[in-house]
Symmetry: C2
């Protein structure tokens, strides 16, 4: 029997998958499991998008151009220009979700063995995209103690060498919720210009900024046109994760042309999704206002509940719909399994994502967990009831 590839062995598995059998077992036993472990929002997809799907009127479900339809890319420029990006349809490559945009950009821009600096904790699949293109992720730890702010630029400079090709950020951040300030973005810009690095930005959570925080994109920064590459998706913005519709945006023509070759190999993004994507751009502001009001309420609930628990610390994040919290526990992997396997309160329990899955430096995040506030406030409170009681019962508790 032939063997799988070395890359197939090396490829990281989804860290949350390990817990799935325990969650499934808990449900089989009749427990309610509150899922705070994944970024699948419970928010309704805008009716306009769904209506566009229901109203399709073609006879042949045909390929679209590999870069996406001109109709969709033109409509997207409306959206981006409202964000102050000043881009044209030819600066956009439509992809199967943000994931494909990142994968293609890695292939198109990073040489094998070359390095991408990523502040950590970071979205675990960045490791997977890097593995696929043989790029090397160089993490720089950020600290929960200052809310996961950008690490000092001097820390980046220590890592930069002749193999460094890019800095990859995510703001508002998954998993920390941290929103990079304009000053932080300007500092990254100067760094990328100084060392001629790509500044790659995962902007999946652009629309989710709370408390008046200002969202700043690399595409907002003057003089960074040839260095900035952003990744986007309709997944979170319109609660349309299953549409698998994203894009890569850059003013760098060589990058777009290189990326297009990888896009041509997979022929076309989805046709129905692009039709829905056109409708999405016309989603009324009231949709986002209602969603952000709801998320703000959830964030406030979660953060205040967590900080009221003995030995727990949770920074108040400026965006996205995640928090990373420090718990009084020996080991987040063990705790997240234990709470599914051995704990129940009011016939319920909670599924969390262990912090370790978001760090590549060994042992970082061992007392942290990520929570996605994708449940309503009532369920969030019940989940927090579970967590609070569980922390008192957990055998690996580190508080006396």
């Amino acid at each position: 029997m032939p063997n799988i590839s070395e890359k197939g062995v090396r490829m990281p598995a989804s860290p949350i998958r390990k817990l799935t059998p325990y969650a499934d077992k808990a449900k089989e036993e009749g427990k309610t499991v509150y899922h705070l472990n994944i970024g699948q929002p419970d928010i309704k997809t805008p009716e306009g998008m769904l209506r566009a799907v229901r109203n399709i009127d073609f006879d042949v479900w045909a390929y679209t151009p590999s870069e996406g339809t001109l109709a969709y890319r033109s409509k997207l420029t409306e959206y981006y220009n409202r964000q102050g990006y000043h881009i044209a349809p030819e600066d956009i490559l439509v992809t199967a979700g943000g994931s494909e945009a990142l994968t293609i950009a890695m292939h198109a821009c990073i040489n094998e063995g070359d390095e991408v600096i990523v502040p950590e904790p970071f979205y675990a699949n960045y490791n997977a995209f890097a593995c696929m293109s043989n790029a090397v992720v160089r993490p720089i730890p950020s600290s929960i103690d200052n809310g996961f702010a950008l690490p000092p630029i001097s820390e980046f400079e220590k890592l930069i060498n002749e193999r460094t090709r890019a800095i990859l950020i995510c703001s508002p951040n998954n998993p920390t919720g941290y929103l990079y300030s304009r000053a932080e973005m300007e500092a990254l810009k100067e760094l990328c210009l100084k060392y001629d690095l790509f500044l790659m930005a995962d902007e999946a959570y652009r629309e989710f900024c709370y408390g008046g925080g200002e969202f700043v994109s690399p595409l907002h920064l003057e003089g960074l046109d040839q260095h900035a590459i952003i990744f986007d998706t309709v997944s979170k913005r319109y609660s349309a994760c299953g549409a698998r519709l994203g894009c890569m945006v850059t003013k760098n023509k060589a990058v777009i042309q290189s990326a297009l070759k990888f896009a041509q190999a997979r022929l076309s993004p989805g046709m129905v999704e692009q039709i829905a994507g056109i409708a999405a751009v016309d989603t009324p502001d009231s949709y986002f206002e209602a969603v952000n009001k709801e998320y703000t309420l959830r964030r406030n609930t979660l953060v205040s509940r967590l900080n009221a628990m003995e030995g727990v610390y949770c920074p108040n994040p400026g965006g996205a719909f995640y928090v990373m919290a420090k718990l009084p526990i020996d080991d987040a992997d063990k705790f997240c399994q234990w709470i599914l396997e051995h704990f129940t309160y009011d016939n319920s329990t909670v599924m969390l994502a262990p912090g370790t899955g978001f760090y590549s430096v060994e042992d970082l995040g061992r007392n942290q967990v990520r929570m996605a506030y994708v449940l309503n406030v009532n369920d969030l409170n019940k989940a927090m009831d579970c967590l609070e009681i569980a922390l008192n019962q957990y055998p690996g508790r580190t508080l006396a």
Copy 2:
């Protein structure tokens, strides 16, 4: 300004793209361009699939499991078991078209620098998938003179070395239309068992077999379970290219598990497409009967028109909807550009795919073109009128 990657430079561009500006210009000049260059069928997508899209009734367009929904994979087993495959839902990984299935399989199964033997001419994007995973394509020429039958097994054995990992075939074939016989498939099976190689089969055109030819899959062959990996798509079968819905099927558990890690990195296949895919499996036989009758008529028209032209030879293929024809020309790339740029008959011209794009050995296919019979018989005849006259006028004609 940072450079793109070496892989971005090395990555092959779509060979047909080079001609697109000439086709666009011809259209701007008011010419009708008959497109025989791409595999985008004009056949209607089954009404059941489109109805399933129009009838979606969810509120949240959510992720599905990375391997695809159990509902879709279960329904697919119905289809495959009708084909005599005897597979279970856990043998299926749902992907974004056949392209993603091939890309994932290359990553999961082929080491960097290891070799995949492919009879040529072959679908040009196999080079692109190999480039992405650093696999090496080793071509074995098949000959137009015997209709592109499987090259002798001894030719395969000459190429096999310690780096050979797989044989990749496509039957019915793109670009030749050739349908591998049971004897050829059995010979490949013995070869793969002898040298412990994967037998990878692109079965995008499974449903398109004409003249009573029998379709034989690696999954039909006893004792090949651990070596067989097939790639499938709804694109051609249901004329739903823009759905980007495919899958990989294998009984080899290690391969499926390795592939699943790559699938997890991109989170989910499309949700609406899987709903449509379920409906597709219930497409009535009458749909395929009508489609195959139509394609048989087109094939017969095209093959007889081509062979009636002086100096032209076109084998009569057993399946798919392509032919490769030998023309009395100096250079297919030049001819395919010339016919768009400098030729017109009845204010029309024709777009063909140069044969060179399907060969990796230099100079092979220089006098061949691929034609997809994705137009109705009336338009096909008009396209053949153009070709016949053009061959007489072309300055690089090789006949006296």
